[in-house]
């Protein structure tokens, strides 16, 4: 155990981790806990997005909550600003910083630095800083806001603010931990000196017999022979990618095939595809909204499905869903974007990659019909490298040397 006090700070709790960012942060926390003497985690967050939180987590107050309700997709900026500007939040964060006196603060995603930087200065604290990068945030945020129809001037202002913050943290940090080589290079250009690649990983639990039986009965009852799964949160890039690469006109899927939508992404489709349009009326003949599944149920569905689709077209970083798909051993139909930072697995069998939407759909029908090819022992061993403890090794090593 290495003697070091580390505080991780984010804009979302990791209790009941659901989305990719939460899972990654939880994995970082677990890796630090396993290797360093004292590790604490704190989220400054909005309760409307995250009803479940940990004991040190601080929810923003009413004033910030109202701002978030008006502009939910800039919620991360608003809660980060509250660290310094909202008295109650500032008091709690200050109290933790002064009481714990961390040697290292790991800021996962750039946002908390907005309030943390002035607070650290005010408190006269100078811990080592780790910039945990999951994306090049400014460009992704602008793209996302424009995609949601936000006024371009507003989107640009938000992107400019985030870009400035990324430059500041890159220049100020003692270590940059990025998920992909391209993000790492981008943030190095912004001023980071020392860096480590910490790709996303996965923890895939084996399914229980009860969960597998549930799904097998479901398939039998509904006469489903072929199963396709898309796992995703209701994070806009997920539905943008799905709508671009697969779309809501699912006639190309054979009648005995169902596309299972797992995770909060299915809420988006359930609420969105209800109009008097041909595609809305027929989407659910081939798709199934699973909602948020328990880890066990999701593991069983992944084990039993034929194809995992990764229609990811935007967003930075590497993708947890890709690691999950690789580890599941199922056939994969993906975009090149989904395989960012997993390029070394591109030659695995049962994998179809394209960025052309028509070709993507064709690949999906091909994958459904294609025979399954077993991996060699070497290929399987290499895939095991995507598990969290393996992908965190380099980060732990670098942090221990800070």
């Amino acid at each position: 155990m290495i003697k070091k006090k580390i505080l991780i700070i984010t804009t979302y709790p990791i209790a009941n981790a659901q989305h990719g960012g939460q899972k990654r942060t939880k994995a970082i926390y677990d890796a630090y806990k396993a290797n360093f003497s004292e590790v604490k985690f704190m989220a400054v967050y909005y309760r409307g997005f995250y009803p479940v939180a940990g004991s040190l987590d601080v929810a923003v107050g009413e004033a910030s909550a109202r701002k978030i309700q008006q502009s939910p997709f800039t919620g991360d900026i608003i809660v980060s600003d509250a660290i310094y500007r909202e008295p109650k939040v500032r008091r709690k964060v200050s109290s933790l910083l002064q009481g714990f006196r961390p040697d290292v603060i790991h800021i996962e995603q750039v946002y908390p630095y907005l309030g943390l930087k002035p607070l650290l200065k005010e408190l006269g604290l100078k811990p080592k800083l780790i910039f945990g990068s999951q994306n090049v945030e400014y460009s992704m945020k602008e793209e996302m806001l424009l995609g949601l129809g936000v006024d371009p001037a507003v989107a640009k202002a938000a992107a400019d603010q985030i870009e400035g913050l990324e430059h500041e943290l890159a220049a100020d940090c003692d270590l940059l931990a990025a998920v992909s080589t391209s993000d790492l290079n981008e943030h190095m250009k912004m001023g980071a000196v020392r860096s480590v690649l910490a790709p996303n990983g996965i923890e895939l639990l084996p399914a229980t017999a009860a969960a597998s039986t549930y799904w097998q009965n479901y398939f039998e009852k509904h006469h489903i022979s072929k199963k396709v799964i898309f796992v995703g949160s209701a994070h806009p890039p997920n539905w943008f990618g799905f709508e671009k690469m697969i779309g809501n006109r699912l006639g190309f899927l054979p009648p005995d095939t169902k596309l299972f939508l797992a995770g909060s992404i299915s809420d988006y489709f359930s609420q969105g595809y209800t109009r008097e349009r041909l595609e809305d009326a027929t989407f659910w003949l081939r798709a199934v909204a699973c909602g948020r599944l328990s880890d066990d149920s999701l593991a069983a569905l992944l084990e039993l499905c034929d194809v995992v689709v990764l229609p990811i077209t935007e967003g930075g970083g590497s993708n947890l869903k890709t690691a999950e798909a690789l580890l599941s051993g199922r056939k994969i139909v993906a975009t090149n974007h989904a395989f960012r930072s997993y390029e070394r697995y591109r030659d695995l069998p049962n994998l179809w990659v394209t960025d052309n939407p028509d070709q993507f759909r064709e690949n999906l029908t091909k994958a459904l019909a294609a025979p399954f090819i077993a991996r060699t022992p070497e290929q399987q061993k290499s895939v095991e490298g995507v598990k969290w403890p393996n992908v965190m090794k380099d980060l732990v090593k670098e942090v221990s040397q800070l």
Partner: protein, 440 residues
């Protein structure tokens, strides 16, 4: 032991239908009749309550399913319905004017009509369900190499296609279906609420699960191809058959119908519903009045369908046209035959059709029809007829005026008599069966 391939004919529609055959039942009957003469054919129906396919027998009728001497007098059901309508109207007229205005708004009338149709649909389902829960015959055993033919309104049974699809995938028989139209999916505003989703889902599974389709017009074939393309469905082979229109078997009604005089009216046949576009005819007769053109009486034959309350109110109450337009419903085929035989000409302003049987019927009776120019309607007689756009009242009026000239009309009728050859149901059956044999 090898199995001799069987052609299985679905009679679900005929089994569920208690009265006089309308369009689709007539198609099912005539095609089934054609097949009934063959050795390799068996019949079945879908039991909705038990979700099974049951073998049955086809029993040919002793007279044309679309015409009957018994129709001369209204049936008990018809008499009860007429009485109910008369009573309701009587009550409405006795009610104070202020009540009538408050309650019988066009919107409420539409709502009542809509609920009436929903109620009828529910009762029909209840009746079917009651029958289906009773004793059943042997299940139809489809096998590899067999061909299953669906020719009726299978969309009324939401489980039929999924159930048949599952069987087809496991038993590997061939499935061929008749496509009437895609109107509820592509033009949902022309129907009441609720049908769009059910119909669209049905047609989606039809396209996905069929080895071949037979459309009743080139227009319906095009619409099916468009539907498949829009939903990224593979397009199955689609043939076309022409529906029979040899309607001359019904004996004309002795004497005139109502107070109508032979040759003194223009006829329009079709249910009063938005799609049939009676609103255009109202505009045509109004326009004639404005321009000082004297038109013959317009006789509209058809039951009252959905969302036409405003138009019917105008037709019945506008002083300019109320004596010029007569709505007739609940008549027998022999009365309809009289109306066709004695009209000046017919007009058919529908917005969209899968075929347009009243056009073919009119021509089969030797009468000129002036139809609108969309969808399948130009396929029936091509250049033999003149057309108008379904939203162009002036064009329709001009055509009517042109053919009010007796020598012009006589010349056109002579051309129809020499060039229009009604299609027999035997021909329809031959076209359908040729496709079935060659589709795969």
């Amino acid at each position: 032991m090898s199995h001799a391939p069987v052609i299985w004919i679905d009679l679900t529609d005929l089994r569920a239908w208690s009265g006089h055959h309308t369009g689709i039942q007539r198609v099912v009957y005539h095609l089934a009749y054609g097949y009934s003469k063959r050795e390799d054919v068996r019949f079945f129906f879908y039991n909705d309550a038990r979700r099974i396919f049951v073998e049955t027998q086809f029993i040919p009728l002793t007279e044309d399913p679309g015409s009957s001497a018994a129709d001369m007098a209204p049936s008990l059901k018809g008499r009860l319905k007429q009485k109910a309508v008369q009573t309701a109207r009587g009550l409405a007229h006795r009610a104070p004017e202020s009540w009538r205005r408050a309650i019988l708004t066009p919107e409420n009338k539409n709502r009542l009509r809509h609920n009436y149709h929903r109620g009828r649909h529910f009762l029909s389902k209840l009746r079917r369900s009651t029958i289906d829960r009773g004793p059943v015959g042997p299940e139809a055993v489809f096998s590899a190499g067999d061909t299953v033919l669906i020719m009726g309104k299978a969309w009324d049974y939401p489980n039929l296609m999924p159930d048949l699809g599952v069987l087809r995938r496991s038993l590997h028989f061939k499935l061929v279906q008749v496509i009437y139209d895609l109107i509820p999916s592509l033009h949902p505003h022309l129907f009441g609420p609720g049908l769009f989703r059910q119909y669209t889902q049905h047609m989606f599974e039809v396209a996905a699960n069929s080895d071949g389709l037979v459309a009743i017009s080139k227009s319906s074939k095009r619409d099916m191809e468009r539907f498949c393309k829009e939903l990224r469905l593979p397009v199955p082979p689609i043939g076309i058959m022409r529906l029979g229109d040899d309607v001359m078997s019904a004996a004309p009604h002795p004497g005139s119908v109502g107070s109508l005089e032979a040759g003194e009216y223009i006829l329009c046949v079709g249910t009063l519903e938005v799609r049939k576009n009676h609103a255009l005819l109202y505009s045509v007769w109004k326009l004639a009045k404005l321009r000082g053109i004297e038109l013959p009486k317009l006789v509209i034959v058809g039951g009252r369908g959905w969302f036409t309350g405003d138009v019917i109110y105008a037709l019945e109450h506008d002083p300019d046209v109320r004596d010029q337009i007569q709505i007739v419903s609940g008549i027998s085929d022999s009365q309809l035959t009289w109306l066709y035989q004695n009209c000046r000409l017919t007009v058919f302003p529908a917005i969209y059709e899968g075929w347009g049987l009243p056009i073919a019927e009119s021509l089969a009776y030797g009468k000129l029809c002036l139809p609108s120019s969309t969808s399948s309607m130009t396929e029936i007689a091509g250049d033999l007829l003149e057309y108008f756009e379904p939203f162009d009242a002036a064009a329709c009026l001009n055509l009517i005026v042109k053919y009010l000239d007796k020598p012009v009309l006589a010349s056109k009728e002579a051309e129809i008599a020499s060039k229009y050859h009604p299609t027999s149901w035997d021909t329809t059956y031959e076209q359908f069966d040729t496709f079935v044999r060659s589709a795969y």
